[in-house]
């Protein structure tokens, strides 16, 4: 078999490797997109008093049902929000609670959010019952729960995309 000079292989290989190491334009765009996030908040009442799952949240309950064992899941409210990076929004929750949601920006394909939940305490004061920051993948959902509500528990599912 006829031998091929090494440079005939080396030159194209070197050029292609160089191209491979260059930052990919689509990755660069993903890194710091300055776009708004669409947040969808599901406020759900979970209890053992009834049976069944609200058809509007069946897709959601299917995702966390393995971890929670309530017999009934009812949608209390569904709150859509559109938040620009740095923008914050207050959302009223049942039981004299309010949730402050702040969109902190994108990190790659993750959306960084800060969530503060406050509850009305004595003498008109509010106490902070939760302060959390997380980075959720686009299209993902996180669940916050445990608050007393009508003999059951209040669940707050936050989806971001």
């Amino acid at each position: 078999m006829k031998s091929v000079p090494a440079r005939q292989v080396t030159y194209p290989l070197a050029v292609l490797l160089l191209l491979a190491f260059l930052p990919h334009p689509s990755l660069a765009q993903e890194q710091y997109p300055n776009k708004a996030a669409h947040i969808l908040i599901y406020v759900i009442e979970a209890s053992n008093e009834g049976k069944g799952v609200d058809p509007q949240i069946q897709h959601l309950v299917k995702e966390f049902r393995g971890a929670l064992r309530y017999s009934s899941y009812e949608l209390v409210s569904k709150i859509p929000r559109r938040l620009e990076p740095g923008e914050k929004e207050e959302v009223k929750l049942p039981g004299h609670r309010e949730m402050q949601l702040r969109m902190q920006g994108y990190e790659g394909n993750r959306i960084s959010l800060k969530v503060e939940i406050k509850e009305k305490a004595d003498k008109g004061r509010h106490r902070e019952v939760l302060n959390t920051e997380f980075r959720i993948i686009e299209g993902g959902t996180i669940m916050i729960g445990g608050y007393e509500y009508h003999g059951g528990k209040l669940l707050i599912a936050i989806s971001a995309k």
């Binding site: 194209p12 490797l17 064992r69 309530y70 993750r110 019952v129 959390t132 997380f134 959902t141 729960g145």
Partner: protein, 173 residues
């Protein structure tokens, strides 16, 4: 021992091609002036040479060698000088049929590296609900964070101690 004629006739071919050293050339010239037989031999050699030359010219004039030269010329220039532009030699590598397999192999190796090994291009497989929790705080409550097995959904569960919550009856693990 060789005679003068025999020695001169051995030199006639090179004499005709003008390849002799000065002293041999002089010997042949003087001998041809003096020897009629060798002069005739020399004339015969010149006639044969003329016939061959004319025949070659007839053939070569009917052939077109311009295309051959056009193909040879760039290589000749490349060999004559190393200062030709890099893109020209690079282009030749790609366009020569004999290097096609080598180019294809190089492309294949580069693609394998690009999609399989380079960290910049690798996107790790992540669950649809993948979430990194950086901070969880509560003033008066305990907080439990866990994840569902299959869907990898993070659940932040607040245990309200002020209201006397102890065991979370709905939580499985």
């Amino acid at each position: 021992m060789k005679t003068a004629c025999e020695r001169v006739r051995e030199l006639l071919g090179r004499f005709h091609d003008n390849e002799l050293q000065d002293d041999d050339y002089q010997v042949v010239v003087e001998h041809l002036h003096a020897c009629g037989e060798c002069s005739r031999e020399m004339a015969k050699l010149e006639r044969i040479s003329d016939v061959v030359k004319k025949h070659y010219e007839t053939i070569s004039s009917s052939e077109d060698f311009s295309g051959v030269w056009a193909r040879i010329a760039p290589d000749m220039e490349g060999l004559a000088s190393d200062s030709h532009p890099w893109w020209r030699s690079f282009g030749r590598i790609f366009w020569r049929p004999r290097s096609l397999w080598a180019t294809a192999a190089a492309v294949a190796v580069a693609l394998v590296l690009l999609f399989a090994y380079l960290p910049n291009t690798q996107k790790p497989a992540v669950a649809a609900n993948d979430c990194i929790i950086d901070k969880v705080e509560s003033e008066n409550s305990s907080v439990m964070v866990y994840e569902t097995d299959e869907t990898k959904m993070k659940i932040i569960w607040v245990i309200d101690q002020q209201n006397g919550d102890t065991v979370q009856e709905g939580v499985t693990s």
